[in-house]
Symmetry: C2
Subunit: 354 residues, 2 copies
C-alpha cells in the first residue's frame, strides 16, 4: 500500500541485535507485535547501530545477531507482507536525522534523562560513558520520527525516551512552523517484564536465567524443573505463596485458561498442591508454545539467504520512508537537500538576491 493511502497508525519498534530473543521478549513484545501487524503499519528495526553504542568492542556479535533476531521475528509469526523488517545501519537517513537532532538537545538534557542515568549506572560506565551512548536518545528520536511513528511499544522504564523524542519533535515543528513530525505515544504493555527462571530480576541471556525461543524440549524441561517457586513451600500439603513464585508468574503470562490458573492459585495457597504438579502444567504449555516457533526457526535457519532477502527488501522500503522524512525536515528547516540541488537553483538565486 503506498504511504499516503495507508491510514493505519504507524508503529516503530525493534530490538538491539546483541543476542537471540527469549521467552521474556515473546511475552513482553513479540506476541503483541504479531497481533498489532494487522491493525497497524508496523516497522521492526534490527537496531545494530544502537547495539554498538555499548558493544563497540564486539561488533562481530552485533553483526551475527542481525540474522538471529530476524529469525526470531519470522519464527514467532511476524509476517513480512504485513510488517517491514529493516536494518538500522542500512538507513543512512536515520544517522543524518540523529546528527541534526543533536543540535536541538543540550548535553545537560541528555544527562538528565532518567533512562540514560539508570543505564549508565547499570553498565558501570561512570565518567567514561561512550559519547554514542549519551546521544542515543537523539538516535531513538530519529528512529521514531524517521518512520513518522505515533505508537511506540516500550517498557515503563523507557517512557522518558519517548518524552525526549516529543520534546525534539515540538522544537523542530515550532522552528519549521508546522507539524512536519508527529508526536508519539508510548504503548506500555499491561504485563510487566517476565522474571528469569531463577526469580532474580528480569529474564536476561547474560544472567543465564533465560529460555531462548530456540530452546529444545530438554532445555524447556530443565528450565521449568529448576524454576524458582516458594522456597518455604517444602511439602505439597502445606500452604504456598503465589506472589513472586515464578511458575505462577509464567502461568499468568502464558496459560490462556485464566479460570484454571486462578483455581490453581487458590489451591496452592490453601495447601495440597505440590510444585511438581504446577510445573507439569507450565511445562506442557511452554512445550506447546515453543515447539512450532523452534521448528519454524530451525527451518528458516537453513536458508539465511532467504531471511536476509526479507531484511534487505524491508530495508529498501524503510530507506524510502526515512529518506522522505529527512528531506521533509531539511526542507522545512530551509536547508539545502543534495538530491534537489538542481531544483533549488532558482530558490537560491532569489534568496541571495534579497
Amino acid at each position: 500500500m503506498p504511504l499516503d493511502t495507508d491510514q493505519r497508525p504507524v508503529i516503530l519498534t525493534g530490538d538491539r541485535t546483541t543476542g537471540p530473543l527469549h521467552l521474556g521478549h515473546y511475552a513482553g513484545s513479540l506476541r503483541n507485535r504479531v497481533a498489532l501487524q494487522h491493525s497497524h503499519r508496523q516497522y521492526l528495526l534490527l537496531a545494530d547501530t544502537q547495539a554498538l553504542t555499548d558493544n563497540a568492542a564486539d561488533p562481530a556479535k552485533v553483526r551475527r545477531n542481525v540474522l538471529e533476531v530476524a529469525l526470531d521475528y519470522l519464527a514467532v509469526g511476524i509476517d513480512p507482507a504485513k510488517t517491514t523488517i529493516c536494518l538500522q545501519s542500512g538507513l543512512p537517513a536515520l544517522a543524518e536525522l540523529t546528527l541534526l537532532y543533536l543540535n536541538f538537545v543540550t548535553v545537560s538534557r541528555l544527562e538528565r534523562n532518567p533512562t540514560i542515568k539508570e543505564e549508565i549506572q547499570a553498565r558501570g560506565f561512570g565518567r567514561d560513558i561512550p559519547a554514542g551512548f549519551l546521544c542515543y536518545p537523539a538516535a531513538q528520536a530519529a528512529d521514531i520520527t524517521g518512520f513518522k511513528a505515533t505508537v511506540v511499544p516500550v517498557g515503563e522504564d523507557q517512557a522518558p525516551l519517548i518524552e525526549q523524542t516529543n520534546e525534539i519533535v515540538r522544537r523542530l515543528n515550532r522552528q519549521i512552523g508546522r507539524a512536519v513530525l508527529p508526536e508519539a505515544r508510548a504503548l506500555i504493555p499491561s504485563v510487566g517484564r517476565l522474571p528469569g527462571v531463577d526469580g532474580k530480576g528480569k529474564m536476561s541471556k547474560s544472567q543465564g536465567n533465560a529460555i531462548p525461543l530456540s530452546a529444545t524440549p530438554d532445555d524447556i524441561r530443565d528450565a521449568v524443573r529448576r524454576m524458582y517457586t516458594d522456597p518455604n513451600h517444602l511439602r505439597a500439603g502445606e500452604p504456598g505463596t503465589v506472589e513472586g513464585n515464578v511458575v505462577f508468574t509464567y502461568l499468568d503470562a502464558f496459560d490462556e485458561d485464566r479460570a484454571a490458573v486462578e483455581a490453581l492459585k487458590a489451591h496452592y495457597r490453601r495447601g495440597g498442591l505440590g510444585d511438581a504438579a504446577v510445573k507439569r502444567r507450565l511445562e506442557d504449555i511452554l512445550q506447546a508454545l515453543l515447539a512450532p516457533i523452534r521448528e519454524r526457526r530451525a527451518a528458516l535457519a537453513q536458508d539465511p539467504g532467504y531471511v536476509l532477502d526479507i531484511v534487505r527488501s524491508g530495508t529498501r522500503a524503510a530507506r524510502e520512508r526515512t529518506q522522505a522524512t529527512l528531506d521533509e525536515v531539511r526542507s522545512g528547516l530551509g536547508l539545502l537537500a543534495f538530491e534537489r540541488i538542481e531544483d533549488r537553483a532558482c530558490a537560491l538565486r532569489d534568496s541571495t538576491a534579497a
Copy 2:
C-alpha cells in the same frame, strides 16, 4: 583520475557555511588551497552540517551561504577540475561514520578537548551546550577519515582536533587489526590569523572588521583609510611602531616585494614616513588583488545553477569516496553492510554455524 592510481597526498579542508569569506580566509587558507590543488588530491567541504551545530536556530543562513562560499572558492581560483568541492550534508556516509566514531570516544574525552572548551566559552554555551556541538570532534574525524585525508590545513588552535581524530583512527585500526584509516597531520600555516582592520583580534565578519572578497573599490579604500596603525605616530616625521600596526601586518601578508616592505618598515621606524603613504601602497596592492576575484565572483553569481552543478558533481564524487571508506570500516569491524547483504549470506551462515 581513479582513486587508486592517484598517489598524491589527500587534503581535506573546507569552511562552515555561515557567511561569505573575507581577506582573512584568503590570507590564512584560500590562497594556500589554490597552490596545493596542483600537488595534492584536494577536497573542499562546504560544512553546512557542522555549521548547524551552533546555528540550529538559523538554518536558512546556513543554506544561503552554501552558494556564497562556493562562489568564493571559484572566484579565488579553486579549479573544480583539480579540487573536489562538496556539500557535507550530501554525504550520508559522513553522518554514519560520525555515529560510529561516537562509540569510540568518551564524553569526558570530548569535554577535555581544548578547542571545544575554548569554543564553548567563546559562544557562551555554558551547561546548555548543544549535544551536536560537543560531538563535533567526532564529526570532524569522520570528515577527515571519510576522505582518507593525511593532510589537514588548520589554525594552530585547531590542532587538538587532529590529535582527537588520530586517537579515533588508532582505536579503530587496533580493533580492526590493520591500518584501514590513515593518521592525519595538521598543516599549520606559517602566517598567523590576519587581524581585523581595527586591529582588535582576528578578522571576522561578526566583528565588523573584515574586508569581504566581494568588497568594492570604495569598500577597500574606506577599509584601508580607517585601518589601525600606530596611535602614537601622529606626524610623518616622527618614528613609528611597526609591530601591531595593521597596515604593516597586511603588507607582510600581501606585498610580494619583501625587500620593499622591509625598507618601508625601517623608514617608518626611524621617522619620515607617514601613514598615508604606507596606506596608499597597501591600498594599491589590495585593489589589484581583489579586483579579479570580485569580477569573477560577480560573473559566477549571475549563474548560480552553474555553481551548484559544480557542487553537485563534486558531492557525487565525494559520495563514492566516503561511502567506500564507510564500507571498508564497517566490514573491517565485522559489521553487516546493507549494500552487500546478499554477498554476505554465506559469510553469515559460516559465522552463525560456528
